[in-house]
Amino acid sequence: MKYLIKILPVLLLLMACKSGPEVIDDLTDRPFEVVNQNGEAVTFPDDYKGKYVIMGFIYTNCPDICPLVTQNMIKVQKALGNPDDVQFLGVTFDPKRDTPSVLKQYKNVFDLEQNFDFLTADSATVSELMDSVRVRSQVSFTQERDDGKEIYFMNHSDKIMVINKEGQVIFEYGGSMTPVNYIVEDLKTVRG
């Protein structure tokens, strides 16, 4: 009994220090073959193992909410000092229009750092990827442009999430409205 009492503090300490954030989703069982804005092949999440990943979901024809999501991620990157062990990813749920070249154009508009990439894939892969991270999107309405071309808009999940170095989702936030310092503080905690 005396022995137990003596080791109790050590046990408490070990338990407390080992208890990281709860794993929300484990993405490691299903790799996705996608491409970045340069057309380079990427296996998600395998290619990012060993790094924390801040991931937001966008479509480039969205003029208000999605740029807010992107800008929040940029603010996180700046607040952290653009560290090498954190990768930023914007993933489109509109692969039909968001080709690598369109995503490259989008990246250029925001004048982003090197470790900030945008990903797309064929429609089936994007759909499966979005299902795996519980991101929903649907066409909400269409309009005809002045040049006769039809454009559509989408309702979609508004989300940023943090993936740990093992490919597990550990934090999720409202993408456009969450105060950036919440995300920064969570990251500082897990990165130590």
């Binding site: 009492i5 220090c17 003029p63 909410i65 002045d146």
Partner: protein, 149 residues
């Protein structure tokens, strides 16, 4: 005595290791609030513009259309949350502004949608927007393009 001290020490350390940092919503990363501006955008793509307009008339006024020199199509849109929790957007054909009230076009709410941009919009550029009201008529404004990063 030694054991008690060890327990207290362990308990305190467990608290220190396990507790999440307190989130301070008052620590704003933004340092400046700009109300009138437009977002950068690529040619043929979308952008958004934001402003505050006060109806100084003694009667209510209605915003019925908006135009811009940089876009082939310009509309008032509203970002909103759908019943099932998705972020959505809808066109507003008109917006009523009561006498002496302000119309606020801002991120995440009512905003000017610049569609099919004629050319790239970059930080440092400026654009013109023309708001048409039923009472005040046409109101022309110049907005800076800001990165807001």
């Amino acid at each position: 005595m030694k054991t008690t001290l060890l327990i207290i020490l362990g308990f305190l350390m467990s608290l220190a290791c396990g507790e999440s940092p307190k989130k301070d919503s008052n620590t704003l990363l933004e340092t400046q609030e700009v109300t009138n501006w437009a977002r950068p955008g690529a040619q043929s793509q979308m952008s958004g513009a934001y402003l505050v307009y006060k109806n100084t008339l003694n009667i209510a006024d209605t915003l019925v259309s908006v135009n811009s020199n940089v876009a082939k199509m310009t509309q008032i849109h509203e970002s909103y949350t759908t019943e099932d929790g998705l972020a959505g957007m809808r066109e507003m054909k008109q917006v009523i502004i009561e006498s002496q009230e302000e119309l606020t076009l801002e991120r995440g709410g009512l905003h000017i949608m610049l569609m099919n941009l004629k050319s790239d919009l970059s930080t440092g550029d400026s654009i013109y927007v023309q708001l048409t009201f039923t009472q005040a008529g046409e109101v022309n404004l110049s907005l800076p393009v800001l990165g807001s990063n």
